[in-house]
């Protein structure tokens, strides 16, 4: 009695044994073995000729990071990451650029790079693959991982992240998007009295296309239609004043004051000037004459958050400047007929529809005050943990991408380039379509991971928390009036455009400060942004000097003033001569100028004897980087007598410039 089962018994045993043998063969030939063989060959090439053999074991290499609960097997193929001999090798063997600073035994790979650390095939490890969307970050976005340990403060060690963060804050993203722990700052001016501020036709053109007027404005383009723009413009200006002020000052006088006051340190005209304030090239087409005059007289009254200082002009001076600006900075391409047409269009518009648009598009997020509009909070999605959000929460809409491209970074990057890519009727406006900015902002967004993903022991912030320094009292009011901290930094608070003033009291002489405040000369002739000429009163300068002298000092310098430095024979001609020899021997004149001779990189030393305090020069020559760590001044390690001689030489220059 035989049946089919009796016949197939033998062949079945054979086939099953063969299949099992195949599995064993497969187990001994994993895909990564090819890379390991290549690497071993490279190792043999690079090995010391004396060495008898190269130590290399085939197999999976793993970093098990207990603190992070990560097992990263990337080094199974990326075999040269911590071997400096492979710095020029091709991937996957290349040396990691940070192998000295980041101990891979402590961090592993995926905590920064993402990807699937447990996988050991190319596709699965790099991703994205099905059911593993945490794909390897493109190198452009890699800095998004740094803030996990290194803190969220801007630093030049994370340029992409810092750039993205400043774009995010300055372009007013926080007006519509909440980010936990970040303050919603109003980056635009209040819009509650627009009718008294700007010309209606200008506002219409501005809403229609902000970049046509100011190419670098933070105001994004909402791609409103002409009728929408007219409705909004009408709503914003409908309570305006009808009476127009006639500016009757002196054009010539205004021009003189405008130039003397160095308005172009902050403002640009015709491509020349600073970038703190807006371009003034066509400002006469924008501001109503009365508003122009008010801005020049007291900008703080109109907009408390403005960076513009109060110059302290007299009424007639202010009128002259306003007259000059009103007549000078007009748009020659704009005809009266066009403005009339636009004005008619706006005046016929629908204020109710305009109000609805202003409310819907969340204008109040950036423009703190708009009459008739209630602030209802951020209108956009909360971005607190956008960088840690699952891909299924991102809608690609009609954009049909293969699953391998459906990643969060990819979604964000393309959204930055074209905010309405995934859904056409979104309210999100168009910012910049420059890829480098999109990369920066995407990097920043990816860094917003919500909760901390590394233990506290991994924290290693690059920067200290920002200073809360804010001068009070009389001096505080003066510093606020002239907006000193827009350019200068004191105790870590303020801008970086002008020299830090934290130790100014230990640096400069009283008489020089008085002269300089009345008529600031350029210490560094190459700079565009020069100190504006304010109309400061003697009392104000006195108060500032007293503050500098009593508070903004450095004890290391002050100690020199009462110590031996003062007893040095600085006036002796021989010593000055020694200092002079040292000065020219060390090529100091390559950067510094004395009496119109020398380089223009460093401050002019022609009047140092009248400007600088002796003890400051002494101290500075000891350690040029004590105050400004990024100072380009070389460290020469002068001896004490040499420093005395150089100090004597430098302060011997008391010429007026």
């Amino acid at each position: 009695m035989r049946d089919i089962f009796q016949w197939i018994f033998g062949p079945l045993v054979l086939v099953v044994i063969l299949l099992f043998a195949g599995q064993i063969w497969k187990e001994y030939h994993p895909p990564y073995l090819e890379y390991q063989k290549q690497f071993k060959a490279m190792l043999v090439q690079k090995a010391n000729p004396d060495a008898k053999s190269v130590q290399f074991n085939y197999g999976v290499r793993q970093r098990w990071i207990k603190a992070l609960n990560r097992a990263d097997r990337c080094e199974t193929c990326h075999l040269g990451v911590s071997d400096p001999r492979f710095i020029d090798a091709k991937e996957p063997f290349k040396t990691h650029p940070d192998f000295m600073t980041h101990d891979f035994g402590k961090f592993g790979c995926t905590v920064c790079h993402a990807g699937q650390g447990r996988a050991v095939t190319l596709a699965a490890a790099h991703g994205p693959v099905e059911n593993w969307n945490d794909a390897l970050y493109h190198s452009s976005f890699i800095e998004n991982s740094c803030p996990q340990c290194h803190g969220v403060l801007p630093t030049n060690k994370m340029p992409e992240y810092t750039h993205g963060k400043s774009l995010f804050n300055e372009d007013g993203c926080l007006g519509c998007h909440k980010v936990e722990g970040q303050k919603r700052t109003q980056v635009g001016p209040p819009l509650n009295i627009m009718g008294a501020r700007v010309k209606t036709d200008w506002l219409f053109r501005w809403i229609l296309a902000p970049r046509a007027y100011l190419p670098h404005t933070h105001m994004p383009d909402y791609t409103f239609s002409e009728s929408q723009a007219a409705n909004i413009a009408f709503f914003l200006t409908k309570d305006g004043l009808t009476q127009q002020l006639e500016l009757t000052g002196s054009y010539e006088n205004g021009k003189r004051i405008f130039n003397e006051s160095r308005c172009l340190s902050c403002h640009t005209v015709g491509g020349v000037g600073g970038i703190i304030g807006p371009d003034l090239g066509k400002v006469a087409t924008k501001l109503l004459p009365e508003r122009l005059l008010q801005t020049i007289t007291n900008p703080h009254k109109l907009w408390p958050e403005t960076q513009m200082p109060i110059y302290g002009f007299t009424d007639s001076e202010a009128l002259d400047v306003a007259t000059f600006i009103d007549q000078e900075y007009i748009d020659f391409d704009l005809t009266d007929q066009q403005t009339a047409q636009q004005n008619t269009l706006v005046n016929k518009a629908d204020a109710v529809a305009g109000r609805k648009l202003v409310q819907e598009y969340g204008c109040i997020g950036c423009h703190g005050k708009i009459s008739g509009i209630k602030d209802e909070g951020e209108i956009g999605p909360d971005l607190t943990s956008i960088g840690n959000t699952h891909i299924s929460h991102f809608e690609f809409g009609s954009v049909d991408l293969p699953p391998k491209d459906q990643t969060v970074p990819n979604w964000l990057y393309n959204k930055m380039l074209d905010p309405r890519l995934y859904k056409v009727d979104l309210k999100m406006p168009y910012f910049s379509n420059e890829p480098d900015k999109a990369i920066a902002v995407t990097t920043y967004l990816l860094s917003l991971k919500g909760e901390l993903r590394v233990p506290n022991t991994y924290k290693h912030p690059f920067e200290q928390a920002p200073s809360t320094y804010s001068p009070q009292g009389e001096v505080g009011m003066i510093i606020d009036k002239f907006r000193c901290l827009v350019c200068h930094k004191i105790y870590g608070n303020g801008g970086t455009m002008a020299p830090e003033l934290t130790w100014e009291g230990s640096r400069v002489q009283k008489d020089w400060l008085f002269r300089y405040m009345k008529n600031p000369s350029a210490l560094r002739p190459l700079l565009v942004e020069r100190m504006p000429r304010f109309k400061m009163t003697d009392a104000e300068i006195e108060a500032l000097y007293n503050y500098f002298h009593s508070t903004l000092v450095d004890n290391r310098v002050e100690d020199l003033a009462v110590g031996e430095a003062m007893n040095m024979p600085h006036n002796q001609q021989e010593i000055i001569q020694v200092g002079s020899d040292l000065y020219y021997k060390n090529n100091c004149d390559a950067c510094h100028t004395i009496n119109l001779k020398g380089g223009a990189i460093a401050p002019d030393l022609t009047d140092s004897g009248k400007r600088l305090l002796t003890q400051f020069v002494e101290f500075y020559l000891h350690d040029p980087k004590a105050f400004v760590t990024q100072s380009v001044e070389p460290v020469y390690h002068f001896s004490k007598p040499e420093i005395t001689a150089l100090t004597a030489f430098i302060i011997s220059h008391k010429e007026e410039k």
């Binding site: 097992a71 447990r118 299924s392």
Partner: protein, 372 residues
């Protein structure tokens, strides 16, 4: 084996006595009844072996389990093939268990005296489903987590004891470590133990019922019910035949495991709800029913009624005609009803698995799911 082999060779008394001696043998060796029960037993053996191997690496912890399964798929030696075999054997066991029950129904072999064994078989099938379901929870991926979540919501819908039962199954008020521990204990200890015991009872009843029965259908046995007692085949024949069958099953599972990896979704994440949340395929039919109404009626009462209906079949069917015969004409109505019920349930699985999109909205399989 031919006649002379069994009698003339004195070489090996042991072989002669045990392997070559003709023995009385149950019908399932000689009749064409597919041997699905035996196949189920082989799959159970395969599952026990591969499951034991998987336990070497698997740690039932919510933080560890998913990573362990990932490791099985990426770096553990033979981890992938063993896991695949475990998964596909389990699927195959559900199918062959179902086919086995269908065969018993179509040949009307649940009738007296086998009504008790039909019940035992039914419980065994339910346990297969229980094993499959608890097995699904162990990798602690999205399917595990959200499957458990749905199930706990169904349990909660039972009036009175609902929330207590939910607490018992989850080991708390929400799906977490205790749930996983309980699933694990069910999957590797409680259910295998119960299944082994029930299987022993099942096999014993087969033997006993065969002896009790005096009525055999089929062309060879109708006239001589005592055929059973007469020696017909040798042990060697039976062993070769059954080993071949086992090897066939093994080969099928092995080839399938080499060709297809067992799925593993993303790690369980309470923050991300997949849409749609779909139960394992063998429960997706129930889920489809569940989508029609209140969880208590659709998720508890309806399945229980179905089980009770299947359980009581032998106690209502007292006919004597057509036992052991495929599709006997006298049983046309029962067969049609049974086939219809089974078809509907398979249809429900197909609809649930392939025609339900986000929000459990109906889509044809070729239609694109609109994400909004």
């Amino acid at each position: 084996m031919t006649e002379e082999d069994t009698t003339t060779s004195p070489r090996n008394r042991f072989a002669r006595s045990i392997l070559r001696e003709k023995i009385p043998v149950s019908r399932w060796v000689t009749n064409r009844i597919l041997g699905l029960g035996a196949i189920n037993f082989y799959l159970f053996a395969l599952l026990t072996i591969t499951g034991t191997l998987l336990m070497v690496y698997y740690v039932p912890s919510t933080t560890q389990a998913y990573n362990d399964i990932k490791d099985l798929g990426t770096t553990v030696s033979f981890g992938s093939i063993v896991r695949n075999m475990h998964r596909w054997s389990a699927f195959l066991m559900i199918i062959s268990g179902f086919l086995h029950m269908s065969r018993v129904f179509f040949t009307a072999e649940y009738r007296e005296p086998r009504e008790f064994n039909w019940l035992v078989g039914l419980f065994l099938f339910l346990m297969i489903l229980g094993m499959a379901y608890t097995g699904y929870t162990l990798p602690w991926d999205q399917k595990s987590y959200w499957g458990l979540t749905i199930m706990s919501q169904i349990l909660e819908a039972i009036p009175g004891i609902g929330s207590k039962l939910q607490y018992l199954v989850l080991g708390g008020t929400e799906v977490g470590q205790n749930t996983l521990t309980r699933s694990f204990v069910m999957h590797v200890k409680l259910l295998p133990l119960l299944m082994s015991m029930l299987m022993a009872v099942h096999f014993w009843r087969i033997w006993k019922d065969d002896h009790i029965t005096l009525t055999f259908a089929g062309e060879d046995h109708t006239e001589s019910p005592n055929q059973l007692e007469q020696p017909s085949v040798t042990w060697r024949y039976i062993l070769t035949r059954e080993t071949s069958k086992f090897l066939l099953v093994l080969l099928f599972v092995l080839v399938f495991s080499i060709l297809f990896n067992a799925p593993l979704e993303e790690q369980a994440n309470p923050m991300v709800t997949p849409d749609p949340v779909k139960a394992p395929w063998f429960f997706v039919g129930l889920q489809e029913v569940l989508s029609w109404g209140a969880p208590f009626w659709t998720g508890i009462v309806a399945p229980l009624l179905a089980i009770v209906a299947v359980a009581v079949i032998p106690y209502f069917d007292h006919g004597r005609e057509g036992i052991g015969v495929w599709f006997h004409p006298s049983r046309r109505l029962s067969n049609v009803l049974f086939t219809a019920a089974v078809t509907i349930f398979i249809g429900l699985i197909i609809v649930g698995e392939f025609m339900r999109g986000p929000g459990w909205i109906f889509y044809w399989p070729w239609q694109h799911w609109s994400v909004n």
